[in-house]
Amino acid sequence: MAEESKRAGSESGPACQAAAAADAAESSLPAAEVAPRSSRAEEQGGKCVFCRIAGRREPSTELLPCENEDLVCFKDIKPAAPHHYLVVPKKHLGNCRELKKDHIELVESMVAVGKTILERNNFTDFKNARMGFHMPPFCSISHLHLHVLAPVDQLGFLSKLVYRVNSYWFITEIKSLLSLFGGQFISSQETYGKSPFWILSIPSEDIARNLMKRTVCAKSIFELWGHGKSPEELYSSLKNYPVEKMVPFLHSDSTYKIKIHTFNKTLTQEEKVKRIDALEFLPFEGKVNLKKPQHIFSVLEDYGLDPNCIPENPHNIYFGRWIADGQRELIESYSVKKRHFIGNTSMDAGLSFIMANHGKVKENDIVFDPFVGTGGLLIASAHFGAYVCGTDIDYNTVHGLGKASRKNQKWRGPDENIRANLRQYGLEKYYLDVLVSDASKPSWRKGTYFDAIITDPPYGIRESTRRTGSQKEIPKGMEKCPESHVPVSLSYHLSDMFFDLLNFAAETLVLGGRLVYWLPVYTPEYTEEMVPWHPCLKLISNCEQKLSSHTSRRLITMEKVKKFEDRDQYSHLLSDHFLPYQGHNSFREKYFSGVTKRIAKEEKSSQE
């Protein structure tokens, strides 16, 4: 892959482009705007689940009694509090960004309905209730819906995450992980790509720790005690924090230490000590222990993102109790540089972990990669406790033979194969099998046995896309390669390949299982309709990574929501929604089109 791809998931954020999107809709506009066409398209197609619920076409959702004729009310399927209801207008409106002045009455009536519903369920302490809309991209469904939550103090504590990577990637990773642990988050601010800090509410400290055990995008998580734009604001916010929540960590038997972190600026030791002293007003009663304290508290100062323009005062200051660190060291310990067996297109370690998180891989799952190559994606899944298997059409790669991909090395050694890679990290017990097989002609019996399919199909640039085929289609002059037992392979149009992949996933994934794959895209022609579609698979996320000035690849995550029936494999012929991924048939030509243009320009200028 081009150099930019290696930097994904690492410190230099600008290499990755953010494309903010809600779940089902994707837009190439900057994050601040949401394309209204997506909500209209959904409504017309009858695809909007809230429209169906409002129209009583969804038998599994019970509508609660509501006086207002234009609104409906029902319980949230993933409640974040003991009372969690949704108030939805019957008429389809997009998300909260589409609200205008004439909608004031509508919103007021929604709030009134929300209050009535709480009263009816014997909850009258409205100060302890919260109502609101999610800001995109945090809304899961782009049909306006008001969340009604109570009681708020049981909602869970506020925590803060520090992260370094492009935030849209981070958000989708966290969403997948939270759905794995059964939690929901509520965020009260909009951030993408601007700040390395993010404030969100998570139901419990345990879920926060579980999150940190998996995430590769987040650096650390803290329990937020106070924050502000200036030291004074921070101190007053700290004074407002309930003392009974502080005391368990500050009592006289405990040990603690305070750290000062500054982002984008270095402070001298004296400046740091001054800041620690300023916090004396907090009721610290324990002893300071700099080596192995029981509790670590941190002051985090945000001096912006521009290293050439460091302000005198920080933009934001936060104070919190450290809970856990993320898994960013996995990127280094599993680095491809140190791996025994690599290929030309081995996946970057950080990205392979992100893919495993998107796939919600957990212990004792079976994860399959139909384009396994050197097994990089399997390693990440095995690290999280899943049993792994894969197939590849290339005999040499699967067996670990042939020419090496490393510079200075001619042939592969005996320790270079997929099994040896797993052994290198102590994960050999998770190795099930690899086979030499054509992904377009799978040889698995009917049934659902894979919990996740995580793969990086070939784009036709560094590795060719191939499949086996009948003699008539073979162009003359191609020879069979006797040693590798591969029958003559012919070009495999990318659109067919993704169609086969989705069909295969729909057939063999367990219900709720996920398909995670990369889709190469010629950026000037990209539209969201190009993302392959299948009636059994729901699109969860679509993250972009730039490869070059006019190409990028998108990490697509889909979840199986419907049992596969035989007629589903022909659905693309019947549906007019599905526009075939035609442009990608010539992805290879388009990828190199920049090169041919440049060569033509150079020739032209040299002639002048």
Binding site: E363, N364, Y387, C389, T391, I393, Y395, V398, H399, P414, D415, A420, K429, L432, D433, V434, L435, V436, S437, D438, K441, P442, S443, W444, R445, K446, G447, Y449, T468, G469, S470, Q471, I474, H485, V486, P487, V488
Partner: protein, 166 residues
């Protein structure tokens, strides 16, 4: 190739369809490979197993001549792919020449009531499904007779041009 994988494989020769399962296993070299026992994983796999196919495959491995089975500890782990099996003297009383490990471990005939908590059952299944590794052999399509080779523990399921289903 583990017997768990064999249990999931089917032939995709043109026109064969569901009659391509199960593939008939002929093993010429087998290795018993100790794998850490994980009762939760084995319990998860039990409902997915096609028992008749598993019993058939286990039987072909069980009846393999003694010399063609490599037991753990023969050359201290590590790479096996480039070595030949060592000649072995017979153990006294073992004139049947059957694979000793599988002979000792009974392959259960089917899932039993409450198998999730039955450690003995789960250990037997763990051994059969995950610890028996077919290194060399063939898989035969029951309908068309087509042979898929297994070499170095990796089956090759690629079809030639004529056999490809269109």
């Amino acid at each position: 190739m583990k017997l768990l994988t064999h249990n999931l494989l089917s032939s995709h020769v043109r026109g064969v369809g569901p009659r391509g399962f199960p593939l008939r296993l002929q093993a010429t070299e087998v290795r018993i490979n100790p794998v850490e026992f994980n009762p939760d994983f084995v319990a998860r796999m039990i409902p997915k197993v096609e028992w008749a196919a598993l019993l058939e495959a286990a039987e072909t491995v069980r009846t393999l001549p003694h010399a063609r089975v490599h037991l753990p500890g023969e050359w201290g782990g590590g790479e096996w792919s480039h070595r030949q099996p060592r000649a072995r003297g017979g153990t006294p009383g073992d004139d049947l020449g059957l694979c000793p490990q599988l002979h000792l471990v009974e392959v259960p005939k089917g899932p039993i009531e409450g198998y999730e908590h039955d450690e003995k059952f789960l250990r037997q299944m763990h051994h059969v499904l995950l610890e028996v590794d077919v290194l060399e052999g063939t898989l035969q399509c029951p309908e068309s007779g087509r042979l898929f080779p297994i070499s170095r523990g990796i089956p090759n399921m690629l079809l030639s041009d004529e056999e490809t289903e269109t």
